[in-house]
Symmetry: C2
Subunit: 197 residues, 2 copies
């Protein structure tokens, strides 16, 4: 499974492509950071980020796009731009027919370091080690994008199993409800027949 991980942003948007070879084995295919000037209009910045994401989807042909789920942080202005960028990435992935998955920062940190509140440096160190990179990816947004892709490689089988279990339990609940309704209808019909006779 090939995953394009995106750490969305306007000032810096991290992109990382990782191949999951089954088990815990992961391989780095590409990593980069797109930057857009802070004084450019928002629409132009989104256009620039969108163009690179589309180019990467076409060039690396991922099976899925994993995006960091944005939370409201201290800086409201920054978080809005980040959310706008994440919307653009999700749209372009969906338009390319690719499934889109969101993972929270703590899910990503927990996946690669075993600790949901790990620091940026710890994430970078683990990403470098897991992907057997000669150098640590810089800036942190590049490492985050790779961490996100690794997280998706490892979480996807579990998420699939959870979705299947949920679908099965919904099916069982539906069948149970139908049996209850049928029994109630039979009882009502028997009662009506008793009263009529």
């Amino acid at each position: 499974m090939r995953v394009l991980g995106v750490d969305p942003g306007l000032t810096r948007c991290g992109l990382g492509v990782v191949d999951g070879a089954g088990g815990r084995t992961v391989r780095c295919v590409a990593v980069d950071v797109v930057r857009t000037p802070a004084d450019a209009p928002i629409a132009e910045r989104l256009l620039a980020v969108g163009a690179v994401v589309e180019d990467w989807i076409e060039r690396y042909r991922p099976d899925v796009v994993a995006i960091e789920r944005v939370f409201s942080q201290h800086n409201v202005r920054t978080v809005m731009g980040t959310a706008q960028a994440s919307g653009v990435v999700a749209l372009l992935a969906a338009r390319a027919g690719l499934p889109v998955a969101f993972h929270t920062p703590s899910e990503v940190k927990a996946a690669v370091t075993g600790e949901g509140r790990a620091g940026k440096e710890q994430v970078t160190t683990m990403v470098t080690r897991l992907l057997k990179l000669a150098e640590a990816p810089r800036p942190a947004d590049a490492a985050d994008a790779l961490a996100l892709a690794i997280c998706h490689c490892w979480r996807a089988p579990m998420l699939d199993r959870m979705a299947q279990a949920q679908a099965r339990s919904a099916e069982l609940a539906r069948a149970h409800k139908a049996r209850v309704a049928a029994a109630a209808a039979k009882a009502a019909a028997a009662k009506a027949a008793g009263e009529a006779s």
Copy 2:
């Protein structure tokens, strides 16, 4: 000037097209609300909103797209979806070659009611009156989209004048700096010549 106003959102996204005929005269061309199911994946919801926005751009050929600027509100989850939708709208407008403008909720309210903290009902009443509509547009998101478009019709000339004034003052500042630098260079040259002689 024809303006497509968008009150971004995933559950309800308001769309309104308004023609500004100069002065305060405005005319309603179209208004609607796109809804997407709350239980659908984010990417699918963005895809649905994006498809309608593109259709409206093609169908109504606006000169500009005005989008409500999203602020962090009480419900963080909602505001993220709203910001993602606004990013998608801005991207699609920019890809269609259209300028994109953002207005804050209070700028919109102040433009149509004269009061930045006006209530939703007051905005709907003024929009209905200004556009001489037979019925009040419902739900509020539809009225908000029209209010946004009206706000842009009225603010655009002022924003243009401000941008021109800023460009002029930046040009004057550049010219002044150049004169100062030239004078300093001349003085330094004269001093060097004096020392050399």
